[in-house]
């Protein structure tokens, strides 16, 4: 399989603080990869840099053979990188259906000179996507009226509307109830096999359920890498977690 995402020597400074310090990662198509680590380890910053929300201080990010290190977020989205945010971020003054059609618009190939056909095609796809995530009955509800868990699912649906090749998930399980968590896992389990996922997560269950490889970040560097089982058994990892917790 070909490499989809190649990160080499990635660095990011905030003032005098070095948040990410020489991070390397290679993902192949279809990989399911999780980044774990304590607060401030630099996981989210890595995700932001891949998505284009934060500019790297140094290093290089290549996606599907293109250097995207300096490309703005919207260009990366068009290349096939989609993401969710730590705090779910749908567009509050729009309905769920509208959220999805808006999200799909930049990626839509239908002729823009036939607006009504275009609208119909988008709406059809959006309805299907909502149904796939059990949100069909919420199509006309404004996003602001959804529960936290539903907002989370809606945002994932929005990301999927772009037809991405790489999906970045920033702590998707944060703040979810058990019922919501079950729906989330079900949803993530049904993602297409060729879709690559890079996930930042604290929740051990979620990591184990989704990821086939895990990288542990500590102080902006890779501490170790392996399967979820290997990582769970690694004494070094336990020490870092406990050490910081103390």
């Amino acid at each position: 399989m070909t490499d989809l995402l190649t990160i080499t020597g990635l660095r990011r400074d905030f003032g005098s603080l070095r948040a990410v310090d020489g991070f390397d990662l290679t993902l192949a198509e279809g990989d399911r990869h999780a980044l774990i680590g304590c607060n401030g380890a630099g996981k989210s910053t890595v995700l932001h840099m891949v998505a284009g929300a934060v500019r790297p201080t140094g290093g290089r990010i290549a996606f599907a053979g293109t250097d995207v290190t300096r490309k703005p977020a919207h260009r990366r989205s068009r290349l096939g990188i989609a993401r969710t945010f730590q705090t779910p971020a749908p567009l509050d003054s729009f309905t769920c259906l509208e959220n999805l059609t808006l999200a799909a618009r930049p990626h839509d190939a239908t002729s823009r000179w036939r607006p009504s056909r275009r609208r119909a095609a988008l709406a059809e796809r959006a309805t299907a996507q909502l149904a796939a995530l059990n949100l069909a009955d919420r199509a006309d509800t404004p996003a602001s009226a959804l529960s936290h868990g539903q907002r989370r699912l809606l945002e994932i649906a929005m990301a999927l509307m772009a037809g991405p090749r790489l999906l970045l998930l920033d702590e998707p399980a944060a703040g979810l109830t058990d019922a919501d968590m079950a729906r989330l896992l079900e949803c993530l389990g049904s993602l297409p096999a060729e879709l690559t996922v890079l996930l930042v997560e604290h929740h051990q269950d979620v990591v184990t359920a989704i990821a086939d490889t895990v990288t542990v970040l500590h102080n902006g560097r890779t501490l170790t890498s392996g399967t979820p089982a290997e990582i769970a058994a690694d004494p070094q990892v336990a020490e870092v977690y406990l050490g910081t917790a103390a």
Binding site: F14, G15, S44, H48, A53, V54, F85, Q86, T87
Partner: protein, 292 residues
């Protein structure tokens, strides 16, 4: 040499005016950098300081010292009151702060004019300061030279506080990253009140010491506010050192610029501001949406 001599009074005048503006602008830049407040009433605080000085001066040296103290105190009280007025607006965006402080400046400014009248009021200085003094071959108002000395000392003291003291370190940290405030366990309301009181004190002091140069009036309040805004932007939000350099620059534009290119001097200020804003990278849009 002749050319230098010809423009020396402009340059000195520019330094005087620049230091006056620096005293005002350093307060404004603190309010920006630390408390993230766009205070459009800052010029009015300057005005308050000027009237305070007018009230307490009596032609003696003690009166002058008293004027500085009174201006500082009045400014600090006004600044503190402003922070109290702003607190209920927490989380409602910068526009509301701007509109509120603009409203306060209109009300307070016009009330002051009604109380004190619209005639120019100048503090009563010791006689010796009303005489011209010869310096490098030119006559200068003695007070202007005294002011340069006093404001220079003030700037040096401020510099020491910001660079060497613990409070200064805290301030610099907060300018860099406002979340520091929370992380350090400092009450953000106290920070807002403290910063606005200090900013007010600086503007009040500038108003009191500057009154013999730029007397209190609505026009002076507007001018000082606008030029301070320019200084803050050119010098960098929250940067005292930047404000110092920018203030001296604006002072020169105000005098040398008017002499050399009268038609262009007003554009120069705002052009400098626009360039500074464009050259600087906009603050990174971090996670999760709007930064407002």
């Amino acid at each position: 040499m002749d050319l230098l001599d010809a423009y020396l009074p402009h340059v000195i005048g520019g330094v005087t005016y620049g230091l006056l503006l620096f005293t005002v602008a350093s307060g404004l830049t603190l309010a920006f950098g630390v408390a993230d407040v766009l205070n459009l009433a800052h010029g009015t605080v300057f005005m308050v300081g000027g009237y305070a000085a007018y009230l307490v001066t009596d032609g003696s040296w003690w009166g002058l010292v008293l004027a500085a103290l009174a201006g500082t105190a009045a400014g600090a009280v006004f600044g503190g009151a402003l922070s109290g007025a702003i607190m209920p607006l927490a989380g409602r965006g910068h526009m509301m702060q701007a509109l509120l402080t603009f409203g306060v400046s209109m009300v307070v400014g016009n009330l002051l004019v009604q109380v004190f009248g619209s005639a120019e009021l100048r503090p009563d200085l010791p006689d010796v300061l009303e005489q011209p003094v010869v310096f490098l071959g030119h006559n200068y108002p003695a007070y202007h030279l005294l002011f340069i000395g006093a404001a220079g000392l003030l700037a040096a003291a401020g510099w020491l506080v910001v660079t060497r003291s613990r409070v200064g370190a805290l301030v610099r940290a907060m300018v860099d990253d406002q979340d520091m405030v929370a992380a350090l366990g400092v009450n953000p309301k106290l920070v807002l009140a403290g910063v606005l009181a200090v900013a007010g004190a600086l503007a009040g002091l500038a108003g009191a010491l500057g009154a013999p140069i730029l007397g209190p009036s609505l026009h002076a309040a507007n001018t000082v506010l606008l030029q301070s805004l320019v200084i803050v932007v050119v010098g960098g939000l929250g940067s005292i050192g930047g404000a110092f350099v920018a203030a001296l620059l604006v002072g020169q534009v105000h005098t040398l610029g008017v002499a050399l290119a009268p038609e262009w001097s007003p554009y120069l200020l705002f052009a400098a501001m626009a360039v500074a804003l464009l050259v600087r990278r906009p603050p990174q849009l971090l996670v999760g949406g709007r930064t407002t």
